[in-house]
Symmetry: C2
Subunit: 251 residues, 2 copies
C-alpha cells in the first residue's frame, strides 16, 4: 500500500467519525486494513505476516503504530505472534466473529454467503427468544419506549434514515426489556451487521422494499404479556428480513 492510499484511508475514516464513536487513529486504520485483508481471505489462516520492520516499511508507518494494530488483531483472536516464528493468522475457529469490529471487517468486502446465512440463523434463534423474555419482564417504561419508536416508524418509512433509527430503537427497547446483558450485546451487534448488509444490498440494487413488517403485532403481544405470541410475531419479522436478503443475494 502506498502512502497516498493510506492517507486516503485515514481521511475517509476521519470523515466517518461518530460523535461518541472511537476516533480512529493511524493504528486503527492499519488494523482496519489488515482486518479486512484477513477477513476477505487475502491472508489465509497459517500465513505469516512478513516481519514487523518489513511491514512497517511497506506501509510507511513506524513499528509502534504497526505493533499497536497487531495488538488489536491479537485481542480479537485473528493473529498470534511468537518470537522468531513471526505473526501468523490463526484458524477461523479462533476468530472473534461476534466482535462488532470484526463483523464490520467481514462485511467491508464481499461477505461470505455462508457466514451471512449463519448470522441470520443465529438471529432467528435469538430474537424470538428475546421477544418472549421481554413479554415476561417488560415494565411501563419499556412499553412507552417501544410505543414511541413504533410511532416514529409509522411516520417515516424504512427507506429513510430516521425510519431505520426508529426501527433500531424499537428492537433496542425489546432487548432492554429482557434484562439480559449478554442478550443485549449479542443481538445488538448481530442486528447492526445484518441490517447493514441488507441495507447495502437493497440500496445497491434499488429493490422496492417489501411492505413495512407488522411490528405492531410484536408490541401487542409484549404488552399483553403473551410470550409465545411475541416470539411468533418476531419470528415472522426475522423471516421477512431473511427473504429480503435472500432475494437480493441469490439474484
Amino acid at each position: 500500500m502506498t502512502e497516498a492510499e493510506l492517507s486516503k484511508e485515514i481521511s475517509a475514516v476521519k470523515a466517518a467519525e461518530e460523535p461518541r464513536g472511537p476516533g480512529r487513529r493511524l493504528h486503527g486504520a492499519i488494523a482496519h486494513k489488515l482486518g479486512t485483508d484477513i477477513l476477505s481471505g487475502k491472508y489465509a489462516p497459517g500465513d505469516v505476516l512478513s516481519g514487523e520492520v518489513a511491514f512497517a516499511e511497506e506501509l510507511q508507518v513506524s513499528r509502534s503504530a504497526y505493533r499497536e494494530a497487531i495488538q488489536v488483531l491479537t485481542a480479537k483472536g485473528l493473529v498470534a505472534s511468537r518470537p522468531k516464528a513471526g505473526t501468523r493468522v490463526l484458524p477461523r475457529d479462533r476468530w472473534n466473529l461476534l466482535d462488532p469490529e470484526v463483523l464490520g471487517w467481514a462485511f467491508a468486502g464481499e461477505p461470505d454467503i455462508e457466514f451471512v446465512r449463519s448470522l441470520f440463523e443465529l438471529r432467528a434463534i435469538v430474537e424470538p427468544a428475546a421477544a418472549r423474555l421481554a413479554a415476561q419482564r417488560r415494565d411501563k417504561a419499556d412499553l412507552k419506549a417501544m410505543k414511541t419508536a413504533l410511532a416514529e416508524m409509522r411516520r417515516h418509512t424504512l427507506t429513510t434514515e430516521a425510519g431505520r433509527a426508529a426501527d433500531r430503537d424499537f428492537h433496542a427497547a425489546i432487548l432492554h426489556a429482557t434484562r439480559n446483558q449478554a442478550l443485549m450485546v449479542l443481538s445488538a451487534s448481530i442486528g447492526a451487521a445484518v441490517n447493514w448488509t441488507t441495507q447495502f444490498k437493497l440500496r445497491a440494487r434499488a429493490l422496492p422494499r417489501s411492505p413495512i413488517p407488522d411490528h405492531t403485532k410484536v408490541y401487542d403481544a409484549i404488552a399483553a404479556g403473551d410470550g409465545e405470541g411475541a416470539a411468533e410475531a418476531m419470528n415472522v419479522l426475522v423471516d421477512l428480513a431473511l427473504e429480503d436478503t435472500r432475494s437480493a443475494m441469490t439474484s
Copy 2:
C-alpha cells in the same frame, strides 16, 4: 500460563526492584490486570485512568507496554482514549461481554450473579436450537465423533479432567454438526466460561455432583434426525447445569 503466574508477574512488576523487567508478554499481563480491575468495578464507567505517564510510572513499566495494553482494552470496547481528555472507562453496554478474554476477566474475581444468570439464559436459548440444527444436518463423521466422546464420558466421570474434556468434545461435535460458524463461536465461549465457574463453585464447596446427565438421549435424537427431540433433551441438560449452579450460588 496460569492466572496465578500472571498476577504474580504483575505484582513482581509493581514491586519491582530491578529496572530490567520480565520478558514474557508484559502488555498482556497489564491488560489482564486492568481488565479484571474494570470488570470487578474497581474502575467504574466514566472514570478516567490517570495519564499514560503516571500509570506507566505507577506500574513501573514503559509507556509502550502500557499503551499496547490499552489498545487491547480499547479493542474489546472497555475503554476509549482521546487526546487531552484521557482514557476513560466506557459504559457497560459498549463492552464486548462475549469476548472470551473479557469473560475470563469477569469470572476472575467475584462474578456478578445477574451476569451469570444472563449467560445461562442465553445458553438455554442457544444450545437446544443448536441441537435441533445438528439433528437436521449431521453426517456420519459428526455422529462418530459424538459417539467416541460419549464413550469417553462413560469411562471417566465428570469429576476428572479427562471426563470434562470428553464433555467438551461432545458439545463441540454437536456445534460442528450445525454447520454454523457464528453459533460455534458463541456457544464455545459461553460454554467455556459457564463450565469454568460451575466447576470452580462446585470444587470450592465440594458438592457431590448430580448424576451424570443423560447425554445419550441427545445423541439418539440427533442420530435419528429428530430435531425437536434433540432440542428437548438438550434443554434438560442445560436445566440440570443451571440447577447445579443455582444451588451452589444461592446457598
